[in-house]
């Protein structure tokens, strides 16, 4: 290793106090500078941090944005989410392969380019999209690719690809992005006009306990997907023993088809900071962390500058709004490309400089979270809503939505519809209404809650978005009549397999078995007993997995079996008690037939 690189790495380690819990940040910086984290780098970091190099490798190998092999100066990550594939993502990948002369997963010989696939980058409303280092390019077509590669070769600067900005703060000089907000429906709460900092002012005029009570009274439930009552979570955190407490904002937004947090971060970041300060005040936390997914790195400088401005304005830091004893500050923790880190305890592991393994519960984060301290993890939308509730009062919020599900919900609508984008609806809105508003007239299916949610068939489009019916973190993906729904279910299953942390048996091993048999069924080598096998295996995985990822990973298959049975029936072989439909004798013979240059006499076939 050259002395400069070595000095740089040691410098990075020391910048973070050679603190093992900051390993994510250290590795990230070294990855960006050196384009990989070599074995030597691992040894060096380990020595500097007083740990073993295999521990560094453990982290590096977990996150898809870190790599042990050198990557190109420019890393092109083509989003291969289902929605992107529906809109030409595969053609875009192939066009890059052709233009660069490499395959996905490879680096050009001159070390300039690496081409990769990446799951949903939160741009489904403007698919197909790619990441070029930190720069997002959207609405691509294969035809544009040669010119893009040419620009990159000429300038070496991904930002040169951005010729038109996407509107709103995307035009801000600290973002300069072509990403669009696509806000289609401004509802009564989050996207409605409001008075800046009114929520925070209201909060500091109250006792922290009363702030918690307000949030409880408002009936706010977490918007990240799990729907846990926010006030209750705060109360646990507030009451937990310990002087040092943390508030973490979950901005990992990884559920395929979800992009509402990206829009809130772009357009409503002050509101989020306000909500975080309110939360910090309420639970007694002085330290806040925003866990920002690596894919949203293009927003980082902008967000940092707003944090700095708020510190100057006395809205962050010590004695916020002049209130003695109300100290609260926020740091941004960047993620490394791992969906599981959206799960709150895995997110905490990641913040601690560990692999993104979920933690054993109990203890819950509210009791023992980040660095063992009581921690409340809340979604971006949840925290934004908090500030709005304080501003208008719990009753006004509660008056919206349904009796069981108060308020409004941001929906990220994408897929086969006229108007993909962000919609703020009161809870209780039906799928019919959503489809009508987004301009989808002939949907074959709607995926509510992303792949961990439910594929809903047209007969059930009168169902509503709320906690007692279709509960969702916000993803609504529409599939038109021409889509192959089962292929799509299989692609989503692949996503979960790829993103499993691998900690527990059912999710690590069971999902692979699920995919294997599912493929047999799709290939027409399955009958009723194979569907039973899928349902039973799916039940075991769901029931025994350690965290929400495994518990929902089989939903694409299970909910299509439940709601789209005819699609499976059409593929099924006639029941045969004696022979296993999934056994493929011709496939099993293929290798030896090719080697021997003859076909089987026992099992003759023509091709």
């Amino acid at each position: 290793m050259n002395p400069e690189a070595k000095a740089f790495m040691i410098g990075v380690c020391r910048e973070y106090g050679s603190d093992r819990t900051r390993l994510m940040d250290i590795v990230r910086r070294i990855q960006e500078q050196e384009r990989h984290v070599s074995l030597e780098a691992m040894e060096l970091i380990a020595e500097e941090l007083g740990i073993e190099s295999v521990e560094v490798r453990s982290l590096v190998s977990f996150y898809s944005f870190f790599s042990e092999k050198p990557q190109g100066k420019i890393v092109i990550r083509v989003c291969n989410d289902v929605v992107d594939l529906m809109q030409g993502g595969a053609e875009v990948s192939r066009a890059f392969e052709a233009a660069l002369g490499i395959l996905v997963g490879q680096t050009t010989a001159d070390g300039k380019f690496t081409l990769e696939h990446t799951p949903c980058i939160g741009m489904c409303d403007q698919a197909p999209a790619i990441l070029v280092n930190h720069v997002v390019c959207t609405r691509l077509s294969a035809a544009q690719v040669p010119r893009m590669v040419e620009i990159l070769k000429r300038t070496g600067d991904p930002q040169a690809l951005v010729t038109q900005y996407g509107g709103g703060n995307n035009e801000d000089e600290r973002i300069r992005s072509m990403v669009q907000n696509s806000i289609r429906r401004e509802g009564e709460v989050l996207l409605a006009p409001r008075e800046a900092e009114a929520g925070l002012r209201q909060a500091v005029a109250m006792q922290p306990e009363d702030v918690v009570r307000s949030i409880k009274d408002a009936g706010l439930r977490g918007c990240g997907g799990a729907g846990f009552p926010t006030g209750m979570k705060w109360e646990f955190t507030r009451k937990a023993a310990g002087d040092r407490k943390f508030l973490i904002c979950n901005a990992d937004e990884g559920e395929p088809g979800t992009f509402k947090d990206r829009v809130l971060l772009t357009e409503k970041f002050d509101l989020l900071c306000e909500g975080m300060a309110v939360a910090g005040y309420a639970i007694g936390a002085q330290e806040g962390i925003i866990y920002l997914r690596g894919e949203y790195a293009y927003l980082q400088a902008f967000l940092e500058s707003i944090l700095a401005r708020r510190r100057k304005e006395g809205l962050l830091g010590t004695e916020i709004l002049g209130q003695k004893g109300f100290d609260f500050d926020i740091r941004i923790q960047m993620g490394g490309g791992a969906y599981i880190c959206g799960e709150e305890s895995a997110l905490i592991s990641s913040c601690e400089g560990l692999r993104g393994d979920p933690k054993t519960r109990p203890p819950f984060p509210a009791q023992k979270g980040y660095l063992g301290c009581p921690t409340s993890v809340n979604n971006v939308e949840t925290l934004c809503t908090v500030a709005c509730i304080l501003e208008r009062g719990a009753d006004a919020y509660r008056a919206l939505g349904t009796s069981q599900s108060a308020g409004t919900k941001l929906l990220s609508v994408s897929g086969d519809c006229e108007w993909p984008g962000i919609y703020e609806f009161p809870f209780g809105v039906s799928l019919h209404e959503i489809l009508q508003e987004c301009g989808a007239t002939d949907a074959q299916a709607v995926l509510v809650g992303g792949p961990s949610g439910t594929f809903v068939d047209p007969a059930q489009f009168n169902r509503t978005i709320c906690f007692s019916d279709l509960s969702t973190g916000g993803a609504v993906v529409v599939f038109g009549p021409h889509r192959n729904l089962l292929r799509i279910a299989g692609e989503y299953l692949d996503f979960f397999i790829e993103e499993s942390c691998g900690y527990c048996t059912p999710c690590r091993a069971g999902t692979v078995l699920m995919k294997q048999r599912f493929e047999e069924v799709l290939a027409g080598r399955g009958n009723q007993s194979d569907l039973d096998y899928l349902v039973e295996l799916g039940r075991t995985i769901k029931s025994t997995s350690r965290c929400g990822l495994g518990q929902t990973a089989c939903n694409p298959v299970l909910t299509t079996i439940a709601n789209f049975r005819p699609l499976y029936s059409a593929l099924q072989k006639a029941p045969d008690d004696n022979h296993k439909a999934s056994f493929d004798i011709y496939g099993a013979l293929r290798d030896h037939e090719a080697l021997a240059g003859r076909t089987s006499e026992i099992f003759p076939h023509t091709n």
Binding site: V54, S500, G502, C504, T505, T544, R546
Partner: protein, 234 residues
């Protein structure tokens, strides 16, 4: 006020636990068997194999990580739960390359023992036959990842009891695997035959050399009866 004793039931039997004890610890103390694999007394419960799953007040959870709570109603030895356990054990078998007839651990293997106990006669799932590494470089210890069930007992024992961190996991999802210092062979690590980690592996992955097949068939740990004793770290 904190009580000094917790009373709850497992399959209808009353069990007492000390505050802070898990359901599994209380069951062990009461001689009630809960099948287990990744749990090893003296280590932080890992909760990864999921085999010790029980239904507590109607909710499935792993008994090795679940604190006992006053009045809790635990279902353990029921057909529903044992079926889940069989599925999980089966997954562990087919995920690796477990060819028992050729394995030195056979008869003393906890994975096998749990499978016998649950009455598994044939795998429900297709074997996956992954290609995995072996390392015979160490003079006294053999490492065969074909049989690793990723239970973390060695990771924790080496780190927390031996103070060495010879082992860690790398990769994620189905690609997760046990690893040692990057670029090194087992012989290049600090691993020593007297380390506690050598006895921590439930299966035939970390094996002492030159001691295999010493005990005749019929007299090995799991030949005659299930779980003759709870495994303890050597």
């Amino acid at each position: 006020m904190s009580k000094d004793k917790i009373t709850f039931t497992i399959d209808g039997c009353e069990v007492t636990a000390q505050p802070g004890q898990t359901v599994m610890q209380a069951a062990d103390a009461a001689n009630i068997r809960i099948p287990q694999l990744c749990y090893l007394e003296g280590l932080t419960p890992h909760g990864s194999c999921r085999v010790c799953i029980v239904k507590a007040n109607g909710r499935l959870d792993t008994s090795c990580t679940l604190p006992a709570v006053e009045g809790m109603v635990v279902e353990n030895n029921t057909e529903e739960i044992n079926e889940y356990r069989r599925d999980l054990v089966d997954m562990l078998f087919v995920e690796g390359n477990h060819i028992c007839p050729s394995c030195e651990k056979s008869g003393d293997c906890e994975l096998q023992g749990v499978a016998y106990e649950l009455g598994i006669t044939a795998p429900k799932y297709p074997y996956q036959f992954p290609r995995r590494e072996t390392d015979a470089s160490h003079p006294d210890i053999f490492l065969d990842l074909n049989r690793c069930i990723l239970c973390a007992r060695c990771v924790q024992t080496s780190r927390d009891l031996d103070g060495k961190t010879v082992f860690e996991f790398v990769g994620r999802g189905p690609d997760k695997k046990l690893a040692i210092r990057p670029g090194a062979r087992l012989a290049d690590t600090e691993l020593d035959i007297t380390d506690q980690v050598v006895g921590s592996c439930p299966v035939g992955t970390i094996l002492k050399k030159r001691v295999g097949f010493a005990v005749p068939v019929g007299e090995r740990t799991y030949d005659k009866e299930p779980h003759p004793e709870q495994p303890v770290s050597e």
